[in-house]
Amino acid sequence: MGASRAAADTEAEFRLFAIGQQRTLYRAALVLTADPGAAEDLVQTALMRTYAAWDRLRGEAPAAYARRVMTNANIDRWRRDRGREQLTDEVPEIESRDESADVASRDAVLRALVDLSPQERRVVMLRFLEDFSEAETARTLGIPAGTVKSVTHRAVAKLRASIHMSAGEVAT
């Protein structure tokens, strides 16, 4: 009785956490994957593993844990799929288009992110969403700080080009 009550409390606590974090996690997942379907899966995986580890997370920051799981799961996913990944000049059809400015803006963001390499997206996520320093990003990804610097430089240049291009499209 007591144990089932505790389990119910744990589950309720987790559900509240998941609902509260869903948007934040989805944004990070979109930046990591540039693919709404994959981002959805990544959020689901991160939350599932966070719940599985919930007992061990007492006193920890579960949101930070979930984002860490997500970053790692995305690396695993990329490693698994890279043989199948096809580079193309054509940006995939993101979603049905309409005239809404929001959709156009979202579309522009995803198109910009698609142009980045998986490593560039990981660095962008950590540097600009998580506000990590170069050293923190390097430590988290297990790569040299110099690599973080050059990848950031490259990613920023690409994103700026995309931003300016989409601004031009909107202007015309």
Binding site: A18, Q22, Y26, R27, Q44, A64, R106, M125, E130, E136
Partner: protein
């Protein structure tokens, strides 16, 4: 140029774009699948405890048997390198080898663990059943690591962003810092926890990989993922000796099993402990 403060346009680009409708999150499925992993984990824990208990019971029975015969003169069988007459069946599958490695860890009295946690961050500790002590090294600096009373503390200049940023190390003013959110450190909390750290969480039984001699000890690799290998002894007591992961520069070595250890100090007094402010 690459300082985020110089990249406000890019920063707002990724931070503020309209997400649109967030996809439906099947929380029931999340809880169901996550819950299943929790149950598997608990069942595995019980299985390891049972295996460890069986191992201990076997030793006790063996000792009792030998002491019962001690009035008669026997050949010095205890120092003979030959196998015992009724050896424990050697583990054959990856899952069995993993279980025996866990049992060997949990039933040991101590082990020396050296672990590379990431770029420029490493841990060098003696782990016992009741805790662990040693050093944490990062960027040329050294902190003292102490696991005692079911808590982990570090004291010194080493930071571990994002879990323990420089600002929090500075705010500690030389007190012990209570570590609450760094999984790799908790893996060396005690021998029991160490026994559960050999495989990534939620991964099914490992497959057998190639053999390799480590310090002249024949071992075999247990492969749980393409990038993760645990090397365990092929002979009793089937201890773990090395964990390697790639491409991340992460490894852990386990040496000096059952060597004498210094007693653990008592937990720091609450006045000498700083609780870091963490989280999003």
């Amino acid at each position: 140029m690459n300082d985020p403060s110089d990249c406000s346009d890019v920063k707002s680009f990724v931070q503020e774009f309209d997400l649109g409708p967030v996809p439906f999150l099947d929380l029931d499925e999340v809880v169901r699948r996550g819950g299943r992993q929790r149950q598997v984990r608990r069942a595995e824990r019980w299985a390891a405890v049972a295996a460890a208990a069986a191992l201990v019971a076997g030793v006790v029975v063996g000792v009792a048997h030998v002491s019962g015969r001690s009035t008669t003169h026997q050949p010095a069988a205890s120092i003979s390198p030959t196998p015992t007459p009724t050896p424990t069946p050697s583990p054959s599958t990856g899952g069995q080898r993993l279980l025996t490695a866990r049992s060997a860890t949990i039933s040991a009295t101590s082990v020396h663990v050296k672990e590379l946690l990431g770029v420029g961050l490493s841990l060098d500790v003696i782990v016992t059943a009741n805790g662990a002590q040693g050093t944490l090294l990062g960027q040329g600096k050294t902190s003292v690591f102490l696991s005692v009373g079911d808590q982990i503390y570090i004291k010194g200049p080493v930071s571990m962003p994002p879990f323990l940023p420089d600002s929090q190390v500075a705010a500690a003013h030389g007190k012990w810092i209570l570590v609450t959110s760094i999984g790799s450190l908790f893996d060396v909390h005690t021998l029991y926890r160490l026994g559960w750290s050999f495989t990534p969480y939620g991964i099914p039984d490992p497959t057998l990989g190639s053999t390799r001699d480590i310090d002249e000890i024949p071992t075999i690799g247990l492969v749980t993922q393409q990038n993760f290998r645990l090397y365990v002894g092929v002979n009793p007591p089937y201890r773990p000796y090395l964990v390697e992961t790639t491409p991340y520069p992460t490894y852990a070595t386990y040496t000096d099993w059952n060597a004498p250890t210094s007693p653990l100090p008592p937990p720091p007094s609450p006045n000498d402990v700083y609780v870091p402010v963490l989280g999003p």
